[in-house]
Symmetry: C2
Subunit: 341 residues, 2 copies
DNA sequence: CTGAAAGCGCTTACAG
DNA sequence: CTGAAAGCGCTTACAG
């Protein structure tokens, strides 16, 4: 059973397609009883406009694209949920794509979305994205794009972020306040801005409080789907190299949880021997033992905010006005738990 | 800068739109050098076909819809990832929607997807979905639909599931093997088939092994976004009502983790006083302490399988053949950890 | 108040 | 080998 079309309704009613279309859209210049007849038949035939045709005609798809590095990730799940919920309220559908932290895939996916004529794009960049010409291509096509979480300073567009530097500073200062003298850092990959910022916050906090910054205390991890293992590995190396460390600030909760596991295996007591602060506030951080002190990163709200901003820009562009890019910073919060107790 | 169209290429080259279209699609009846000229220009102009137009014309959208009850959920994240990864390989885009466990929303979303003319739908039903006429509407429109995880026996369609009954039986039997004599069950909501099946597996295992089935040992939880709290609450009630219980089989890991938290708070030792088995094998179950014995449910593979089956059905329908529905059962595995140690 | 016409950007059967 | 024509299902400016 093929879906009903305007034409079929028009034929049944002996009217023109235009009249039917206008009646359904409640144009003021259509007769009241004509409207009624059309609507009644449309309802009984269960007529639904073919979005494909409407989209082609009106040149908008009521669809936005979302590219994230990794779907199975507590923070990103929350972002997706935030975006989907706001999009639905505004009548938009969300196409989801995963870049797997690969710049190359990211490029292809942007192209896919562009061909699909999405009305806008929301993206968190892959770790290895440093060239951004593919993003510029989006703006050339007059499609708004909003970045969140992993953004690029090279691109002029709206961004929804947290103050990673400040949050990391706060996390590190918390360790200092708790009496740590020699604080290590497990940082994220080298390219992403937020991992750089967290590192900077850590470093500044040390220096501001008269502690030495020792580069050998900084360990790198990709923070990809091996995060947990990376945490264990780094913790192992840390214990081999620097037995005197009494605090660690770790780039992501999952990595921190890996580290905690290794500490436990090796009989290192947390928080007595080493205190630990994570980042992101994954749900599981509150239920492990000892529970993890961390920085709460509002994923759901970031998603909502990113969509809302994108929506504003879509509307602005529709009206032919110029976009005003915003840099929206959401608040983070230190959640104190047992690993720094 | 508006995207380039076939017409523009045709004008520049002094050819007809048809020729350009066919050249780009490598029709055999187009001259070799014509093809070359068209392609070269198309490339240099960065021509990309407008999917909206193609879709309208060919009557397929190369898009599938996915409806799940809750995005922020380790199991579902994995399913999403599985679906997205397979879809991308086949050139399909995935529209994601969250039903929030609401049958009403689910209905609206199916309609949305139908209007969008998706080529197929993958769905895990909301907890309160018992009427399924909205699903039947999908088949009326000749759109294939595949269910996974929370399926309905009332609907004849392909399904990707696990053998919940068998898995629950195995989980319960494991508790019995470990010496438990009085085993409680925290079940899921009353409607979903999989929660019924898990309950049945639990019950049968008890009876098969000469243990009494005591309905007062069965606690219900919605398994929605309050799962963790529900686990705590149920555990509390359990301890109040039935101090003699020495084992619990729990419908979902997250609920189990809530229960473990309550047990710990009340000084009940796991596994010494009570042994616990969860269901789903969330990542965090492996890192908490004591780590949780559970049933591994292959989310990623379920997603892949669901998309693959949907793809087969889309192709079948395109060829005008009749669909053959499959009930695909994936293997589960008992993961033994400390809570039953 | 209603309808004929043009057009969104593409595809494809048909003619030459 | 190339092109004119019809059409996918809708919307909207224009005419009457």
């Amino acid at each position: 059973m093929k879906p009903v079309t305007l034409k079929q309704i028009a034929e049944r009613l002996n009217m023109s397609v235009s009249t039917v279309s206008k009646a359904l859209k409640d144009y003021p210049d259509i007769g009241v009883d004509t409207k009624k007849r059309v609507r009644d038949l449309a309802r009984s035939l269960n007529y639904k406009p073919n979005s494909l045709a409407v989209n082609l005609r009106t040149n908008e798809s009521k669809t936005v694209g979302l590219i994230i590095p990794e779907i199975v990730h507590h923070f990103f799940s929350n972002v997706i949920k935030g975006i989907v919920s706001r999009a639905e309220k505004k009548g938009y559908l969300v196409i989801i794509l995963q870049s797997d932290e690969s710049n190359e895939l990211e490029r292809k996916q942007i192209e896919l979305l562009l061909n699909q004529r999405v009305d806008g794009i929301i993206i968190s960049l892959a770790n290895d994205t440093d060239q951004c010409d593919h993003i510029e291509g989006v703006f050339k096509q007059q499609i708004p794009l909003v970045m969140f979480d992993k953004v690029s300073k090279r691109i002029d567009c709206s961004k929804v972020v947290i103050d990673d530097r400040k949050a990391a500073y706060e996390a590190t200062k918390h360790l200092i306040d708790k009496g740590c003298k020699r604080i290590a850092h497990f940082r994220g990959a080298l390219t992403p801005l937020n991992s750089i910022d967290r590192f900077m916050g850590y470093r500044t906090a040390l220096l501001d409080h008269g502690l030495e910054f020792d580069p050998s205390l900084v360990y790198i991890c990709a923070c990809d789907d091996r995060s947990f293992e990376e945490g264990k590995e780094n913790a192992k190396k840390l214990l081999e190299d620097h037995r005197d460390v009494d605090g660690v600030f770790i780039n992501t909760d999952l990595v921190a949880i890996g580290a905690l596991t290794e500490f436990k295996n090796q009989g290192v007591r947390v928080p007595e021997d080493i205190k630990v602060v994570g980042f992101s506030n994954w749900f599981m951080s509150s239920v492990i033992s000892p529970s993890l002190t961390t920085i709460d990163q509002p994923g759901f709200r970031m998603g909502e905010t990113a969509f809302d901003q994108l929506f504003i820009e879509i509307e602005t562009l529709k009206k032919g006005k110029d976009l005003i890019f915003k840099n929206i910073e959401l608040e983070t919060k230190l959640i104190e738990r047992e690993t720094t107790g």
